[in-house]
């Protein structure tokens, strides 16, 4: 739990730091941004609530074994494509995503496929998109960003095929 504490200290330290800079611009500036931040928070809470509670249910109907099955032994581009879908559909946080990647590596999954999986998970994991990106960012940006990112797990797999194993 010390990592979580460290993150919280870093986070609130940054808030305090930028708050101090705003305060030195004058108390009205400080008050205005404090009010705006609080309003954003109030507006975001329902969406975060939907994201947290909702992704729990979505995760419950996508068991981990299904994802592991998709990272099968197919070593070609079809395997890469399946890995990309698996990365986007992986429920849960980084522990689950990286553990599935490790299991796939150890059980004979191809390295380019696992790279595609990890990159796709980082770019599209539905839980992070629903829980964090959509509530905080303009929706149009999120859909645009996801669409534009689609080629890149494939690019990463191609680079991995060219430069070889770690």
């Amino acid at each position: 739990m010390s990592a979580a504490l460290f993150i919280d200290i870093l986070l609130w330290g940054s808030v305090f730091g930028v708050g101090l800079i705003a305060f030195r611009r004058g108390p009205p500036v400080f008050k205005a941004s404090l009010r705006e931040g609080s309003m954003d928070f109030i507006n975001i809470v329902p969406r975060i609530a939907l994201g947290v509670i909702g992704s729990g249910y979505i995760a419950a109907i996508i068991p981990q074994e299904v994802i592991t099955g998709w990272l099968g032994p197919d070593s070609g581009w079809l395997g890469v494509a399946t890995a990309v879908v698996a990365g986007a559909a992986t429920p849960g946080g980084p522990v689950i995503g990286f553990s599935i990647g490790t299991v796939a590596l150890k059980s004979g999954g191809g390295v380019p496929q696992v790279v595609a999986y990890v990159v796709a998970w980082a770019l599209f994991a539905f839980q992070r998109v629903i829980l964090w990106e959509i509530p905080f960012m303009p929706a149009r940006f999120v859909w645009f960003r996801c669409a534009v990112s689609v080629p890149f797990p494939f690019v990463a797999a191609a680079i991995a095929m060219v430069i070889g194993k770690p």
Binding site: L10, P46, G56, Y57, T102, I134, A139
Partner: protein, 180 residues
Amino acid sequence: MRKPIGWSTIIIAALVAVSAGLVWRRDGTDGVLDILTHDLSLFGGILPRVLAGCLLGAFISEILPHEKVSRSLGPKSGLKGLLIGTAFGAILPGGPFTAYPVASALLAVGADFGATIAMVVSWTLIGYGRAVAWEIPIMGTDFTLWRILISLPLPVLAGALGRFVYVRVYPTPAAKDDEI
């Protein structure tokens, strides 16, 4: 930021309702309540971080010089803007509760989609936070460093593709806060 209810929220809500229905059919009311209690405690735990993220975003959009941001990260910032976005995403501390509010603040003060995409993609692919906390312990140092090396060009490429597509999809300056 955004309107409280939009199409994205409606789609997610529908998805959640269907999933909760499937869980109910499979595990009964107890299964539904188990997930609900677990997720509610998770929700309570992350609320303070969400508040911190919102405050961070609000302060940053207040103190950043708007002309300077639109010059260094705006539509005409070129490769340099994409590189600045990438570098910024790579060094940004914290988790999603800092990255997305800060990215949203940058958009609000004049960064374009391209530079912001470079920042978000860089944060998720080459940012050190998740790599140090999770990827190295679980996947090993060799794989992680090698995976990051492969990912190095991707944020700039994603940002460039974003710009290329953006000017073709939205030829006129579009409203900032519309949905989907």
